[in-house]
Symmetry: C2
Subunit: 376 residues, 2 copies
């Protein structure tokens, strides 16, 4: 029996599965909006806590709403001892992303059954940053550094990571980086969270799916890979590298995007941050900057006419290096910043939940006879 | 700016995202095939190890191929001490499904980077059963029972669960149950594994996504809920229960399926198993059987004309109860049996991988002005 072959939507590209009011990615014009607010406005005027509130509530908070949201975030920063011990046990024996997914899965296990309250979402946004910071501090042999109640979310994140109260500039830069990575519509990790949520599984399980999906080099791993490429390119002939890579069918990390066919607006902002810190930057960061700007020039000449432009991953690594972040924490930090986006989409999907189950076109045989072992 | 509204494919129902040669679910005729072999043939003549080989290789094994496959499965049964300790730590403080996902995530973390070898798939099929058995034995205060090399996969699973060498009938029944649950095309958990795999994340991360998706009551939780319904219905007026539930817009667990519009072929086989054990069954199981057969009769009279028939979850619970399995292990056992199906789909998807990223239709505003805090 052969059925008529239906249209196959490879990668589900261009298939719409729901309406959403959270995020507009205007790929043609290189614009990005969270609940209607342009990313440039949010990055320059808002902060990560307020953006998290916006993503969970669809509006900017009043002063007292933000205050109580920040208090809830602060109260949720503490990691259970069992989870801190798990991170210590796995540190050095696994990758930060694997430790992160296991730790978040364990927090979900300890908290138990499904919860749909806004309070669970806030817990997760806070805990994810704390777990990432703990993975970093334990890996750097500083041990688990408990949170400090007097600090805001980003300040506390940097404090838990390093054990030192961060300077104002570092907090401002990291705050912008968190805002820029907080949400990006139905990307693969967010979609993964929604698929898990669609069976009415719990929020933690959905977030763990998102983390496990973000792990892949085609998604969250790209900023770390872009940085490693930049470091490798130091002093090399960049036009030749670009030509050789294109000729061999390879891809240059940090360029091109399924949705943006123009300059990624997040890349513009991150490039601005990188340029603004040059006078205070280490030699490593200044060299990375030279390389990345030179690469950008070569690539723009060659490929911008084909809609291939810098994406968010290109300048992220050098900025994180300016903040002293080790490359294997880039993707975990991406996860910590994306937490409000994931939570926002789960919450929205559950308002009119439907089990997500696309289908495959069967191309095999049917009705084969089972053959006894001796006759095979 | 309002775009033209595209077609929204709710639940992605009926959307084809790939071709697949693994499994045909013929919902109209109530037939199911794994790589072309009817499920009835496999359940009556094959065994779970052979079916796992079939799902991973697309063909039935020769004697020596099966022998080496079984050896690989046997070698992979041992759980790392850290994971056994994690299960002990979480036992009684969380649900078996949450413990299962955390434990599998931790095994993945300990094993490290992405692996695509067939050997990793076999590891996972073995480990999942061992972890589920350990969760059961530790929960039953029997502690972690290490595997026994002289036993086959199903025999060993029941041994690790109870601490006793199982009788032949129990092994035969559980073997059939594992075969019947081993694969079912692109159901939600399998799709979830593929979404995670599509970013080139690793196999363990993909399996953890599948487990976290299976957790939900709209998917893997259904057999446990069907059993609880049957237990509640004992001695009650079943036609009235059915009428009341339908009148209030509720759903009767164990009936209806998005794909099958006829009798689920797996339900036919499981019903046969249940009927065959009545003379040796406990009073509990005999009562459950009476209830389920009576409910089936009422439901078939009322709803079979609408394509609503018994599904795989209806008779599964009473059969597991015959084997002495506690209800909160039903879904973990579903996961252990589905492992080869998940692995088979990941392997197939990676042969021509494409990032899975459908899209949402944005219905919000754009270009909102950021309002300073004091003016909100």
């Amino acid at each position: 029996m052969v059925d008529v072959k239906p249209e196959i939507r490879s990668g589900l590209e261009g298939v719409y599965f729901m309406e959403s009011a959270i995020c507009k990615v205007d790929g043609a014009n290189g614009r990005l909006y969270y609940y209607g607010y342009p990313i440039e406005e949010l990055a320059s005027k808002s902060n990560f806590e307020e953006v998290s509130y916006l993503l969970m509530n669809g509006k900017l908070p009043t002063r007292s709403e933000l205050e109580s949201f920040r208090e809830r975030m602060r109260d949720a920063r503490y990691i259970p001892d069992e989870v801190a011990n798990l991170i210590i046990e796995l540190s050095g024996r696994s990758t930060p992303m694997h430790i992160l997914s296991t730790a978040m899965d364990m927090i979900g296990a300890l908290k138990g059954e499904r919860s749909e309250s806004n309070s669970t979402y806030i817990d997760i946004i806070s805990e994810l940053s704390s777990v990432v910071a703990a993975i970093g501090s334990i890996s750097a042999k500083k041990g688990y550094i408990p949170p400090k109640d007097s600090l805001g979310h980003i300040e506390n994140f940097l404090y838990m990571l390093s054990g030192e109260i961060p300077d104002k500039e570092s907090v401002e830069i990291m705050d912008k980086m968190f805002i820029l990575h907080a949400e990006h519509s139905s990307n693969a990790s967010t979609f993964s969270a929604i698929v898990t949520a669609s069976t009415l599984s719990d929020i933690y399980s959905s977030i763990v799916s998102a983390i496990n999906t973000l792990k892949g080099p085609l998604h969250g791993g790209a900023d770390e890979m872009a940085l490693r490429m930049l470091a490798d390119l130091r002093g090399k002939n960049i036009p030749k590298y670009v030509d050789d890579t294109i000729a061999s069918g390879g891809r240059i990390m940090g360029f091109g995007h399924r949705v943006y066919k123009s300059y990624d607006p997040r890349a513009t902002i991150i490039k601005g941050i990188l340029e603004s810190v040059q006078s205070r930057a280490s030699e490593e960061v200044r060299e990375l900057t030279k390389t990345v700007l030179s690469l950008e020039g070569v690539m723009t000449d060659k490929l911008s006419s084909k809609g291939i432009w810098p994406n968010v991953d290109l300048f992220t690594g050098p900025v994180y290096r300016y903040l002293g972040i080790p490359p294997d924490l880039f993707t975990p930090i991406f996860a910590a910043s994306r937490a409000p986006g994931w939570c926002s989409h789960i919450q929205e999907y559950w308002k009119s939940n439907r089990l997500l189950r696309p289908t495959v076109f069967y191309t095999g045989e049917v009705g084969k006879k089972y053959i006894e072992m001796d006759k095979r």
